[in-house]
Symmetry: C3
């Protein structure tokens, strides 16, 4: 297995946009030849995060985005002068990484779970970094 950090890029089109990345993560895990262990899905940005939630009904992600936009309004009494203080806060509420086990080469996700990249200050070009922990007996 290549020890190098794995990554992929994505381009978001909205200011707030959740993008499901389960397929891309699974593909990279397969191509790296990881059959058992864990993968860390890491977002190297400070105005985007990552979370695991339902991927069957897109309304779930829509509700989350709208909830966070109401909870942390873009226009507020913020000190940070770049106009995206809200995006930084939302990023920390979701978190910058998720960790998923891998068995027999497959992501061990629950039946309804998908991995979502959470854009809070798009549109932008973004990266997702994966790092693999192979497990040996």
């Amino acid at each position: 297995m290549a020890p190098d950090r794995l990554k992929f890029e994505l381009a978001t089109r909205e200011r707030t946009q959740w993008v499901e990345i389960t397929g891309q993560v699974a593909d990279l895990v397969t191509r790296a030849g990881l059959t058992r262990g864990h993968v860390l899905v890491y977002v190297p940005h400070t105005t985007a995060g990552v979370t695991i939630n339902e991927n069957a009904d897109p309304d779930v992600a829509d509700d989350m985005m709208r909830f966070l936009d109401r909870l942390v309004p873009r226009r507020g009494d913020w000190a940070h002068a770049e106009g995206n203080a809200d995006a930084h806060i939302k990023a920390s509420l979701m978190g910058s990484s998720v960790r998923v086990a891998v068995e027999e080469g497959r992501l061990c996700l629950g039946r309804w779970q998908g991995i979502f990249f959470c854009e809070f200050d798009g549109p932008r070009r973004r990266e997702v970094w994966l790092s693999l922990d192979p497990q040996t007996d």
Copy 2:
């Protein structure tokens, strides 16, 4: 050590209910023979999460549950038609996994810390998955 995914089940009785699972996690770590490394405590559901917080005073978990129920009301302007959009949001706010180090066969938790399964759409039968990362020198 058995390489198979470890898991246990639990049944919740309330819609919102935090269940301390520290003992079950510690038991499975012991039975698996893990003496040094890490354990990932993973919730494979999208309307439940997991967090680490104080387990000495049950009021702490009660306050958190009530806070989250007020922050994300069940009845709201949600698109998701199943009536549990709030539970999905609360799950992502808490997160789907926690990671704890293991030394000499014991969970490395702080003095007041316990691991809580966070039910947001019960009562249901639920699973908790553990995956172990043994550490070798």
Copy 3:
């Protein structure tokens, strides 16, 4: 590499105070001789957390602290009698650990990312625990 748990202490001076700890984490990783793998940055407290966010403009952390203080007021209708129920809730919203990859002895953080210890019930003396996962090919 020393298998022992690594840790460092810090003293906070305000009730709510975010302290950047990126340098301390990097130093301990270097001193432990970890060149490739991961580090888990773990906060063993229940009224403090840890998060990754922007470290270039200190206003970002200030905005986050003020947002959380407004979202979860200290004086509220709390059951927990110690007067710090809000701090427990904020700790779970941020989380008790972050995980960062290490390559060539360096933390794999994004360009603007730093690691912040999030004090919510200071001033106190606190600990941060690190555990290392070296990766072998």
